[in-house]
């Protein structure tokens, strides 16, 4: 397999000189103190993706999102005017969680005309206005206009719904995403509405799982047994080389070349791949989704494998060459745990054969994900031992290097701001 050309500096890493090439510390992934500051510096300031517009098909459609990392829950709802809004999921009366079903800590979704608190029956309309107070005359000069739901900044890009918990977001969503991410606008996300969602509780810091899916250096090794030896042995010998990496602000992308499994010798495939004409990379028979925007397949590979857009802090859009995409979300629950969610999106199957090809892709993804997730617990526990504190990263791990640098930079900026409060106020 030919190696791909690298930037004139000699490597992807040196193309971004601020990254350096030295060993990296993962203290940011094991320190409870770092995590506490990361919650404030990152998760309470960034635009966070919480879902897609298709989850809110009509007026009154809503879902809740638990944001343990920011110690809140938000309601996301489509109003009578068609706009999507977000609110803190708390009743203004005595602080009960407003929207939940059976289990207060679990997410829920549905459709309603108004929100009614389970506790004392206060009612709010879809715009968050308080419209009814039980025994209102018992209160003291209660101004209902002053007790609407507390709004959360909410905006939509390419059908992806984002919230921002900062009282005054420092950037608009578009500014935050920047030109590399907005360069994939026009990809037909809205056509891919058949969803498979998997969720796992993972015993590692969220950034370590981000790392696992933003380098493919591990793929020929960790996943060798997923493929027949005729495939996996040469794959491991060749190693992995991506044709394109790019970093734009805190975000990154890795793009890979593809293979056409149906052109490989049959001993390099599994029988079920032949039977379903599908596998990890998706259905062999891709749907016609029309021309792609310029920002997709940036190295213009043919065949092209995938683009994995790593959107800071915890959101990934991974577009496959075979005409489908998936998202990853990594929601921290402590410095050493997080909830991992992966959602696969396909153009809805028109017949059983297409549906079975989707199933094969989803099942294959899960097998890989189980290997990745469990390996991370092994990493987390040994990092926490503290006996080794710096780790060499290679050029195919440039996005890992960037992620940890960005996390440290944001936390250090926040700490500097906090220790010099008057200066920070002046800057704003």
């Amino acid at each position: 397999m030919a190696k791909w050309p690298k930037p004139p500096e000699g490597s992807w890493t040196e193309h971004y000189p601020e990254l350096g090439t030295g060993p990296v510390s993962f203290l940011d992934s094991i320190s409870p103190e770092f995590y506490e500051d990361e919650r404030e510096a990152v998760f309470k300031r960034c635009w966070l993706n919480v879902g897609r517009v298709e989850q809110l098909p009509r007026t009154g459609s809503y879902f809740t999102k638990e944001l343990a990392v920011a110690k809140t829950s938000v309601i996301v709802v489509r109003g009578a005017d068609g706009e999507i809004r977000a609110f803190h999921n708390i009743c203004r009366h005595r602080g009960n969680k407003l929207v939940w079903t059976d289990f207060p800590r679990e997410e829920t979704s549905g459709s309603c005309r108004q929100f009614v608190c389970k506790y004392h029956g206060w009612k709010y309309d879809l715009d968050g206005a308080l419209t009814f107070v039980q025994q209102e005359e018992e209160f003291f000069d209660l101004d209902k206009d002053a007790y609407g739901l507390v709004p959360v900044h909410c905006d939509v890009w390419s059908g992806f719904v984002f919230v921002n918990l900062d009282p005054e977001p420092r950037q608009s969503l578009r500014e935050f995403l920047g030109p590399m991410i907005t360069g994939i606008e026009g990809y037909p996300f809205e056509k891919m509405t058949e969803r498979f969602v998997v969720r796992a509780d993972v015993g590692s810091n969220w950034k370590l799982f981000m790392d696992a899916f933003q380098e493919f250096y591990h793929a020929p090794i960790l996943h060798a047994r997923q493929t027949p030896a005729a495939f996996s042995i040469p794959a491991a010998a060749n190693g992995f080389h991506a044709p394109h990496y790019e970093i734009d602000g805190p975000h990154g992308v890795v793009s890979t070349a593809g293979i056409r499994p149906w052109n490989l010798p049959s001993e390099m495939r599994k029988p079920m791949e032949d039977a379903t004409r599908s596998g990890l990379f998706g259905p062999w028979d891709a749907p016609d989704i029309g021309p792609l925007p310029d920002g997709v397949n940036p190295a213009k590979c043919d065949p092209w494998g995938l683009d994995s857009f790593q959107i800071w802090p915890n959101f990934v859009i991974l577009i496959w060459g075979q005409g489908w995409y998936l998202t990853y979300h990594y929601w921290p629950t402590s410095h050493q745990r997080h909830t991992f969610e992966s959602t696969l999106y396909f153009v809805p199957a028109q017949n059983a054969r297409e549906r079975i090809a989707h199933e094969m892709a989803a099942v294959s993804m899960k097998e890989y994900g189980l290997q990745d997730g469990n390996t991370l617990e092994a990493t987390q526990t040994m990092l926490e031992s503290g006996y080794v504190q710096s780790f060499p990263l290679n050029d195919q791990e440039v996005l890992c290097r960037n992620l940890h640098k960005v996390a440290v930079d944001w936390v250090e900026d926040y700490r500097a701001e906090r220790s010099a409060p008057s200066d920070a106020a002046a800057v704003r």
């Binding site: 969803r195 969720r199 079975i356 997730g373």
Partner: protein
Amino acid sequence: MGLLPEPFADLEPYAAVWSLPTEGERYDRRLASTMDELQTFYDACFPRLEAAIAYCDGVPLAEMPDDVVRLMQLIYSLVIVSMPVEAWRQPNVPDAGAARLDRIVEPMP
């Protein structure tokens, strides 16, 4: 009245075990099975897979009667079982330990 469409009557004993509505149930059944059980299921059903896919393909997804839905579920189980049979040689994913990835949303059927 069988579980499956009449042309697949020979697979009835497997439908009773493997025609399960959700991926979670199918995956749990795989983990609770021995390699011999998985291999027996695979050996019996894999040769009939193309015929089963073709049969289901003749019925619109939105209007599938229950027996065809159960045939689809049997196919999904065969897909899940193909991983240990064709790759792992054990029911669980190697080195996955007690790790779980629970499917919480999926298209039906």
